[in-house]
């Protein structure tokens, strides 16, 4: 389960890297990948939270509440994509690939927000490392621990770690 967000990131990155940014229609492919990745992240996080396989009837059809939540997450990323599309004519293909790769990292934020609700902050948000954040949340009983993994950490993540443990606001 600890690898789920990393695996999601890898799947999304892999798909993005196969896009030909020099050909027209690349933005449509990006839209599809964004929708797929964040929906997958939400589903995987929910399954992890409930301790069930993804293949139960749980995800055969999304409920209205689940759909609305995922829609909001996807919409936010699509808004960023619009900015990317506007800026694209002035960018080289390498620059576009690098920028597109950041969209894959955003799935980690979606995963943790769905996995543990009510915490004060989540990986990829509000820290200097932004989408490159490799931190995660670990639960022990009613306490939640901001966990640093093997990487260079920004001051905000270090500060969060020193504030352990945290409690969920219900």
């Amino acid at each position: 389960m600890a690898d789920t967000p990393l695996n999601l990131h890898a799947l999304a990155l892999d798909a993005i890297q196969q896009i030909d940014f020099s050909a027209p229609g690349w933005s449509k492919q990006m839209e599809a990948i964004i929708a797929r990745a964040h929906t997958a992240a939400a589903m995987a996080a929910t399954a992890d939270r409930l301790g069930l396989p993804v293949d139960t009837g749980l995800f055969k059809g999304l409920s209205r509440a689940e759909r609305n939540e995922i829609k909001a997450l996807v919409q936010a990323q699509l808004d960023y994509l619009k900015g990317f599309v506007k800026a694209a004519p002035g960018m080289s293909e390498a620059q576009m690939k690098a920028r597109a790769a950041l969209y894959a990292a955003a799935t980690r934020g979606t995963y943790w927000k769905q996995r543990y609700t009510g915490l004060p902050f989540y990986p990829t948000e509000g820290s200097e490392c932004m989408a490159n954040c490799k931190c995660s949340w670990q639960q022990q009983g009613d306490d939640y621990y901001w966990t640093l993994h093997a990487a260079e950490h920004c001051p905000t993540c270090l500060s969060r770690e020193s504030g352990n443990p945290y409690q969920v606001k219900t």
């Binding site: 690898d3 997958a40 589903m43 396989p53 293949d55 900015g83 927000k113 609700t117 990829t124």
Partner: protein, 508 residues
Amino acid sequence: MSDQLSQADIEAARKRSVTRQDAIPATAAAPFTILMGPVGLLSGIPGIAQYGQFALPPPGSIVRDRLLSQTPGFETMWSAAIFKSISKKIAQGFRIEDADDSQRRIKQAQQLVLGYDGSYASGLQRGMQDYLLTDMGMVVEKARQSSARGSRIAGLFHLDALRCYPTGDPTKPIVYWSYYGGYHLLDAEDVIRITDMPSPRVELRGYGMCAASRAWSTILKLAAVEVYFREKITGTRNLAIHIVNGVSDKQMREALDSSEEMRNERGFVLYKGSTIIPMIEMAATPTVVTIPLAEVPDGFDVNEERTDAYRRYAHSIGMNVEEFVPAPAGLNTGLSTQIRDEGIAGQGMAAFDKNWELALTHTTLPGSTTFYMGTNEDWRDQKMKADAQTARATMLKTYVDAGALSPMQMLNAAVDAGDLDQAYLPKDATEAGDINDNEKLISGEAQARVPVLSPLPSTQPQVQQAGSAPPAGAIAQRRQKDADEAEMLIDQELESALDWARKARGDG
């Protein structure tokens, strides 16, 4: 939005408000700007000289607060009034409730509150003295486990109001000057400040009008009366000059031979606080002319003045007048006391209770935990509650009997009012559209979550169109169109997303 009042939400809202320009951001590097401002050290110096010997220094100054905080030492009854109001709050106690009945959370919250400044009773006594006796108010620090925003609160500590300087910056509202000289700039989420009647003036930076401010002139008057009578009784001050005609000073001295302090000055005798000047001219009969230096005015009724003063003390503090001035015995005395108690329950010191409850519940304790002043053990509260429930049930039954409500609707109404447990309901058929300030949305639909906003290092800002903004209707239509497109994409990618979720989790 979480159930705990978020300082980040308030700050985000303030950025939309014109009041964002009411203060410059406070920084640790520039404390001198705080101390030298309108409420700084310099502002109090001309106060007494400018406004008269017995006037207070101008509002919003530390000098004024220093004077106000010493008023219990000026007059005995005022000191007793302060003691009475504070001790009543201590005796009231508190209780902690948790919507999920989490014993762990209740225990932790109880420990946090009990540890307020080392001990709840001590902390509250110190804090309430600042609330009643300084315009700055009661200041409580929330010391956190670490400097990370939202980290666990390790303890609550009383801060001396006379060492707190308001900055005017709502994000960092207080500078605390610690005893050994260090200045500490406190974040809004790390401090609770409860002020009595905070001023609406921006310049006064939240200074209010405490009970001592309101009662100042009465305190002075009563103190002067007590001093006058004390001096008159003990003869320690010259209260009058008596010019006696027809008695020589030798005769006067012999007549007034006293073993107490007697000063023999040429031409006059000082006796028990009065100067007596015997005149040489011998008149047929001795006469006396008195020149008063200090005396009560004609018609001055000390008891009435005292009673009036005690009433003013009670009103200034916000307590039941009859706690200081017993009502004359007579018919319905008990009932009138009860009515006055009920009347005062919604005003005066009840405002302090509410402030303290809201500050702890919504900015300090976890989301499902609520702090209440009082232990709910007062039998009069229980009886009043039962009476209200009975009246409500009778009213609802009347509507059911008249056919206006069905029994199920009556049941719903009783659950909404809190008279019956939710467990009796199959499904709530009446909308509950209100929430008290001390309640939290515990059940019900999950709040909409903030979408993930992973800022991209080279994200370009949205290009603004030159000229006028599009009409609101067009913006709404565009948003709806975007939302529809997002929904379509989700439907389109649902199967693939399920596949990715399976792979990411390693399921089958």
